[in-house]
């Protein structure tokens, strides 16, 4: 379990240090698959993990979202490496500082047991790094990646939280549905919006 969480942390960080969209996509897919694996191997007595969570993590976050995003990028005629976090010292310093803050927060929130401590630290890192991407990037692709990262972090935090009723399951589904709708919107924006400069005509009602 610890190895999986460490791998997940690396997968969260690596795309920020490379700055290529292909690596970002691979990173997202790897996050979903690793979290799915983690959910499958979740220890008994540390909170229930529903089948819905496993399907969401493995299938939706590990496969569907990266594939749809791949289509978004293919739809974009001239995709450059600029639509992601710039791989420079400033970005790296920011990412490392957020990582340290996340581990400090985990120390306060869950000092023991070690598994929970690491899980919380990685989840908070994912959340903060997602917001870093969202706050610093204006490109459609980077913003989708930011939102998916935030969704992944929430899903990781939920693992083993001891709360698995139908409302939570429904909330999970709606969050995934929302992300898919956002991706569909991204597809439209990328395909149909070359430049958002013209003023819109007045609407019907």
């Amino acid at each position: 379990m610890t190895a999986l969480l460490v791998a997940l942390l690396l997968v969260l960080l690596l795309p920020l240090f490379v700055g290529k969209w292909q690596v970002s996509l691979l990173g997202l897919a790897a996050q979903g698959l690793l979290m799915g694996w983690l959910a499958c191997r979740w220890p008994h007595g540390a909170g229930d993990v529903s089948w819905l969570t496993i399907v969401d993590l493995l299938l939706v976050r590990g496969v569907v979202l990266p594939v749809v995003l791949w289509r978004v990028l293919r739809a974009r005629a001239a995709m450059s490496g600029r639509d992601g976090l710039p791989p420079n010292l400033l970005t790296w310093a920011g990412a490392v500082m957020l990582l340290l803050a996340a581990f400090r927060a985990a120390e306060v929130l869950a000092p023991t047991p070690a598994l929970l401590h690491l899980q919380v630290a990685v989840a908070i890192s994912g959340l903060l790094l997602g917001f870093l991407v969202l706050a610093t990037q204006g490109g459609v692709f980077a913003q989708v990646v930011g939102v998916v990262r935030i969704g992944n972090a929430v899903a990781l935090l939920q693992l083993g939280s001891g709360h698995a009723d139908w409302v939570l399951a429904l909330a999970h589904l709606v969050l995934v549905g929302g992300t898919l709708v956002a991706l569909r919107h991204a597809l439209i924006v990328v395909r149909e919006v070359p430049a958002a400069t013209s003023a819109g005509r007045e609407s019907p009602v």
Partner: protein, 475 residues
């Protein structure tokens, strides 16, 4: 029964549109359902009992009844406005069925947010209202509208994602404190009051920041001006007056359950976010020359005022509720009027619009009254709401916040007046004059003005009692 009806009636109305004959009369269905739901909401507010439904998961308590009596009549007014628009311009009819098919579930979801006695159910409904509102924002199909819709969806998802993370933290906090991880309001209130943990503090903080994003408050407010500017005017009014208040009720619920254990944290977060929002909104109000953006920045500023009021709590509670209710009507009046002005003048540039009181008498008058209410002039309810929040700041010895609040309000006052008043009273060119605006198109907005005045000078006893009861819950 009534809480369920408030959610199911709009859903049934939307399902009616599956019939081809009904699709041809979509605008009438929207107005009929809107009026029926508004009637039920007002009746439930006047009746005065707390109503439970769906095994206690929906609860029409004082806060819910108050806000339902605000947002449902506003929605009905917007529906009547849409009907008038379609009646006066039949070319708009083809897109109406889709508009109604999305608007009615939007209303159902917003009502569910207000009624939910379970935080996750409220969250779910808010997320659903966002998902159906996004295509409404993009309705004109222009590139800019698509991008605005995308931005709205993106920031909403990020904010609501943060709220979801906050719920998980609250759950863990409850478990750490030896309670069941239950987000029904009543057990949650007891669970949190029994003992604050680091988890619950982080949870409350995340939920507040996530909801502030959804409400369009700083630092994550940039989606709001773009969305309100590019959305059709009726949709902007729905977002600003209906969904904003639904999200605000969820914020009130969280503050209500979290204050006993984390009062100081709530005050610090909300007062900081509120002041920051007022600063950025005031700076933008000074700079903008776009009418709809001006209204959007005014919304950000009013969100800031509400956040400060909720943060202070206690003595500001009545003022906050009065201000929120008044503001909903002001936004509905101003956005619907701005749409009319844009259609007539073919521009949103405030520098190019002059003499509205002559060119469009009702729109000019409504813009004038709406702006007076927006700026907090008496006798409108917003004046008294603002006054009560200010006096609460003095009462709680927050003089620095009071000073900043007053200075920012004064700058916003000058900036808005300097921009809007020449639009109303300046000289209209001969080509811009168009006498003969029909009164029934302006009727919903005139009723809203009447409500605003009533909230200020003649508060019905039942509404006053409802406000006091809801304010009691906030304390």
């Amino acid at each position: 029964m009534i809480p369920l009806a408030l959610v199911w009636l709009p859903v049934l109305g939307a399902l009616l549109l599956l019939l081809p004959k009904a699709r041809a009369r979509a605008e009438r269905i929207l107005a009929t359902v809107g009026l029926a739901v508004a009637g039920l909401a007002v009746w439930s507010a006047v009746r005065g009992d707390d109503l439970l439904a769906w095994h206690g998961w929906l609860c029409a308590d004082a806060t819910a009844r108050l806000f339902l009596a605000v947002i449902d009549p506003i929605f009905a007014g917007i529906a009547l406005h849409s009907w008038h628009r379609v009646a006066s311009d039949p070319e708009l009819r083809p897109g109406m069925a889709r508009h109604v098919a999305l608007s009615l579930p939007f209303l159902a979801a917003c009502n569910a947010v207000v009624l939910a006695a379970h935080l996750e159910v409220a969250w779910l409904a808010l997320e659903l209202s966002t998902l159906v509102a996004a295509p409404l924002v993009a309705r004109t199909g222009t590139a800019v509208a698509q991008r605005a819709s995308w931005q709205y969806l993106l920031f909403s998802l990020a904010g609501l994602g943060l709220v979801a993370a906050g719920f998980v933290c609250l759950d863990r906090g409850l478990v750490a404190g030896g309670h069941d991880p239950e987000l029904l309001l009543q057990p949650l209130r007891h669970g949190l009051a029994a003992g604050a943990t680091a988890w619950s503090a982080v949870g409350i903080g995340m939920i507040l920041l996530g909801l502030c994003t959804k409400l369009g408050l700083a630092p994550m407010y940039t989606w709001l001006p773009t969305t309100y500017d590019e959305a059709p005017t009726s949709v902007a009014a729905m977002l600003g007056a209906v969904q904003f208040n639904a999200a605000f009720v969820l914020l009130l619920r969280v503050v209500e359950v979290g204050r006993p254990a984390h009062g100081e944290l709530i005050t610090v977060v909300l007062v900081t976010v509120g002041l920051l929002s007022m600063v950025v909104a005031t700076a933008s109000l000074v700079a903008t020359r776009n009418l709809k953006r001006l209204l959007a920045y005014a919304s950000v500023q009013h969100g800031g005022v509400l956040a400060i009021g909720v943060g202070v709590g206690g003595p500001a509670a009545y003022g906050v509720l009065l201000y929120a209710a008044s503001n909903a009507f002001i936004k509905a009046i101003l956005f619907l009027t701005a749409g009319q002005i844009h259609r007539h003048c073919q521009t949103k540039d405030t520098g190019a619009i002059r003499g509205l009181i002559q060119a469009l008498p009702y729109s000019g008058l409504l813009l004038m009254l709406g702006t007076f209410a927006l700026l907090g002039f008496p006798p409108f309810g917003s004046f008294f709401g603002e006054l009560l929040i200010l006096s609460a700041l003095v009462e709680t010895q927050r003089m620095a916040v009071f000073g900043g609040f007053c200075a920012l309000l004064a700058v916003a006052f000058v900036a808005t007046g300097r921009t809007v008043f020449p639009m109303i009273w300046g000289n209209a060119g001969p080509a811009e004059r168009r006498p003969g605006q029909p009164i029934w198109g302006a009727l919903p907005k005139l009723v809203f003005v009447g409500v605003l005045v009533a909230l200020g000078v003649w508060m019905p006893a039942t509404i006053d009692a409802l406000l006091r009861q809801a304010a009691g819950g906030m304390r």
